[in-house]
């Protein structure tokens, strides 16, 4: 073997290049954190209330449900698919669970029911996408309409009121432990668990493999269909859980909770650096994306921006976020290329 003869410097050079790459990949989440910090700092500078206990609690509570949905969605997006039906699942689950709880169900069966409904919806999407090989966008747009219709059909103009719900559930939505509200805590635990699994377990990496190249994944013996099914199942379950949490937080629900949230969730995922073309990104990024979007919304109100301007500014900031990120990535890639040649 000629191992000894191998010149050492190419390896070293590659190494420093890689560290830079690593940095950029982390910077993807880092830049989000920086943007967030800047936003919070500016807003708090203008209005100290923004960083009061109540202010922070509000933001965390507002983020929790969106972030939970974003975590589920990013799992699906990483496999190069899409789940547009999450919004309607939340609406259906929030109403049906509320209906059952109001009619005397216990809290635990209620929560289980909610997650189970989500799981069934996810399973349906997953089976259609993975086993029937129907394009994800069409399927989930279809189930969006179907699930929404079913939800409205069941509700038929009725409303669930907070008074009818068990107090235990409402305290889950608004209570806290050691000063931290339950909702963000639940989201945090779910996010860490899924993030850890995706990064550290062979089967977790397979989600990325599928998104990166479905054909290659098949040839490498990755159980493509099963993984995609699992991605949808998890997304559905989390949407179900989000529905229950929605009910817990808002107490009053009609059938169209989270109506139209599908694009909001996808924005969060995209801003969080999960590539819409699959294979890239992390659930942490997605959750951060949700936090950033929510914070922008809150900050604009606190900064007393004219409500007619709020949506436009949110859109502009979203574009700015993805553009800056892209430009940064291109710059670094070029830097890297120069270094690797002249270094």
């Amino acid at each position: 073997m000629t191992t000894a003869a191998a010149p050492p410097e190419p390896a070293v050079r590659a190494r420093s290049a890689r560290n830079l790459v690593d940095l950029v990949f982390r910077a993807r989440e880092l830049s989000l954190v920086i943007a967030l910090a800047a936003l919070v700092a500016i807003t708090a500078g203008v209005n100290g209330n923004f960083l009061s206990g109540q202010g922070i609690e509000d933001i965390l509570l507002n983020t929790a449900i969106l972030a939970l949905l974003a975590v589920g969605q990013s799992l699906v997006v990483i496999t190069r698919n899409l789940d547009l039906s999450v919004g309607s699942v939340v609406g259906l689950v929030a109403f049906v669970t509320g209906d059952m709880l109001a009619s005397g169900w216990g809290m635990v069966p209620g929560i289980v029911l909610g997650v189970a409904i989500g799981a069934v919806c996810g399973l349906l999407n997953g089976l259609l996408v993975s086993f029937c090989r129907v394009p994800a966008l069409v399927v989930t747009l279809g189930t969006l309409y179907v699930i929404q219709g079913v939800g409205h059909f069941i509700a038929h103009g009725r409303q669930i009121n907070a008074v009818d719900l068990p107090p235990g559930l409402l305290s889950l939505g608004n209570g806290s432990v050691l000063g931290i509200p339950y909702l963000p805590l639940i989201t945090l635990v779910v996010m860490l668990a899924i993030g850890y699994y995706l990064r550290s377990y062979p089967s977790g990496r397979e989600f990325y493999a599928i998104g990166s190249s479905p054909e290659a994944a098949g040839l490498a013996g990755v159980p493509v269909r099963r993984r995609i099914l699992v991605a949808y199942l998890v997304s559905g379950c989390l949407a179900g859980l989000a529905g229950v949490l929605w009910l817990a937080r808002f107490g009053t629900v009609i059938a169209d909770s989270a109506n139209g949230w599908e694009l909001l969730v996808i924005s969060a995922v995209v801003v969080g650096g999960v590539a819409i073309t699959g294979g890239v990104g992390s659930v942490y990024g997605a959750a951060l994306g949700a936090l950033l979007l929510t914070t922008i919304g809150s900050a604009l109100v606190v900064l007393r921006v004219n409500p007619f301007w709020q949506q436009a500014i949110t859109g502009a900031l979203l574009l700015l976020a993805i553009s800056v990120d892209r430009v940064l990535a291109l710059r670094v890639a070029r830097l890297l290329r120069r270094r690797s040649r002249h270094g």
Binding site: T3, Y201, E206, S212, G221, R338
Partner: protein
């Protein structure tokens, strides 16, 4: 060859619609033998490979593992049974690191079932050392050149410690050095009792690596026999069914005026200060090791990438940077090295692909004339002996070599004055290779300037009027036809001579 074969096919047939890719083919792979599979483009080699790998299920016949019939439900089953496969087209995950690509699904784990990244990178590094490659296991697979991709595929396959190693044209994108390394590794595996199935259109490789060879023609089994005692011509006759003329028929032509002039061209990070010219009627080869930057020069000249400094002149007119449309307008054509991504639109039909470079010339009024499009496609398909069912079939179902012919057809149909071909005969069988060579020299004879990038050294030496050699992004030598020898080219390519 005592005992049952490790893996065998018995009377296997496989059809795709009307195409009978395999008819009643049998093949036995014994432990410790390197077995070659030869045949023209579209003969059914890759189909056979995919049948062994569990990708295709035979319509009839059986796959035998250790003498017992098995049914592979998918690639996972075959892998489980100890069959490692290098497919003809690289199958990498562009977003994942090289190491993850190699070990996907069987990463080294800690006691808790987590991935042990350190161990994984170390193992990948060891593999690359064995193959003599300097690739960083932690870099993403995206952006690797075709050759590097192929090397990762090889590393993936040999890391499986398989009982059977199947390699479908693993060397098509590689140059001499890497091939030699690969062979020494394969040799070692063979000695450990691994059965090898090897496919290549470079006959020399078959003779130097393999003990036995099976030949296919039009999906049918022709012969299985020891390599020893066989000549090149014998093998070609079995493949083609007739004798072939000389392989490298380049006639001397008198070079005309300068058609392509490249002046101090630089693209940072890829190549520096590249200057050369190609005259009408001349075939100039661009040689070098994998990753020397040859393809990058071609891409820049054709306008795919922007260059940072320098100039490109075609027939005395400067070309703007970064515009393939302008390059085509000036009479340039580029047959790219990666036919799947760059050469063809896999979902479109043969005729549409060939027509894609002539959307202007096929116009009658505002609309495209389908008749003209079909004529153009048929004309070139026949000239290049394309093996196809109907012109309206998707190119995706063609065999690798036939796909390459479609790429050639697509560009020759533009009737260029300067033709750049990047690995024009990659994956093309001997018969067609001769055809392509004849075609290139015929084109040169008609006054077209040809710039040929090739990693096939005999091809370079046989075809080129002049050989330019690149090493690490710089032009290191210009060697005339008379002085060009394997030694002179290789020493310039490895940077040993200036």
């Amino acid at each position: 060859m005592s005992g049952p074969p490790t893996l065998a096919l018995a009377n296997v047939s496989k059809s795709f619609g009307a195409v009978r890719a395999l008819r009643d083919v049998s093949l036995e792979l014994f432990p410790g033998e390197a077995h070659a599979l030869a045949g023209e483009n579209g003969a059914g080699k890759s189909t056979l490979v995919k049948t062994l790998a569990g990708v295709h299920r035979p319509d009839s016949g059986q796959v035998l593992l250790g003498g017992e019939p098995v049914t592979f439900a998918g690639p996972a089953d075959a892998q489980q049974a100890g069959v490692a496969v290098i497919y003809q087209e690289p199958t990498l995950f562009p977003d994942l690191s090289v190491a993850e690509n190699i070990f996907m699904g069987r990463q080294p784990r800690t006691s808790l079932g987590r991935i042990d990244r350190k161990a994984m990178h170390a193992q990948a590094r060891r593999l690359f050392e064995r193959l003599g490659v300097t690739l960083d296991p932690e870099q993403p697979a995206r952006g690797l050149s075709i050759a590097d991709q192929q090397l990762v595929e090889i590393a993936k396959a040999i890391s499986r410690d398989a009982r059977v190693l199947v390699m479908d044209e693993p060397t098509a994108a590689l140059s001499g050095n890497e091939v030699a390394r690969l062979f020494s590794v394969v040799e070692a595996l063979r000695e450990q009792g691994c059965a090898i199935l090897f496919i290549s259109h470079r006959l020399d490789e078959i003779f130097s690596l393999c003990q036995r060879v099976t030949t296919l023609r039009d999906g049918a089994w022709i012969a299985s026999e020891p390599v020893e005692g066989l000549t090149h011509d014998d093998l070609i006759r079995r493949m083609v069914g007739r004798d072939l003329d000389a392989l490298y028929p380049k006639q001397d032509t008198t070079a005309g005026e300068v058609a392509l002039q490249v002046e101090r061209l630089t693209r940072e990070g890829y190549f520096t200060d590249v200057s050369f010219q190609v005259r009408r009627g001349e075939i100039v080869a661009l040689a070098g090791l994998v990753g020397a930057g040859r393809s990058e020069v071609a891409r820049a000249v054709f306008g795919i990438d922007r260059w940072d400094a320098g100039s490109v002149t075609v027939a005395g007119r400067p070309l703007p940077a970064g515009s393939p449309t302008a390059a085509m307008g000036a009479g340039l054509a580029l047959v790219p090295e990666d036919r799947r991504q760059q050469g063809l639109v896999m979902e479109l039909s043969i005729e549409r692909n060939i027509g894609l470079t002539g959307l202007r010339s096929l116009r009658r009024g505002v609309t495209i004339s389908r008749a003209a499009e079909r004529d153009r496609a048929r004309d070139w398909a026949l000239r290049l002996q394309l093996k196809f069912g109907r012109l309206s079939d998707g190119v995706g179902v063609l065999s690798g070599g036939n796909q390459q012919k479609v790429v050639l057809a697509k560009w020759l149909a533009t009737e260029p004055s300067v033709l750049i071909v990047d690995e024009p005969t990659r994956g093309i069988d001997v018969g067609t290779k001769a055809e392509v060579h004849r075609l290139l020299s015929e084109l040169a004879g008609q006054g077209i300037a040809v710039l040929m990038i090739s990693s096939d050294l005999p091809e370079v030496l046989g075809m080129a009027d002049r050989v330019l050699v690149m090493h690490e992004g710089r032009l290191t030598a210009e060697i005339s036809r008379a002085e060009a020898t394997e030694e002179s080219v290789m020493s310039a390519a490895t940077g040993r001579a200036a």
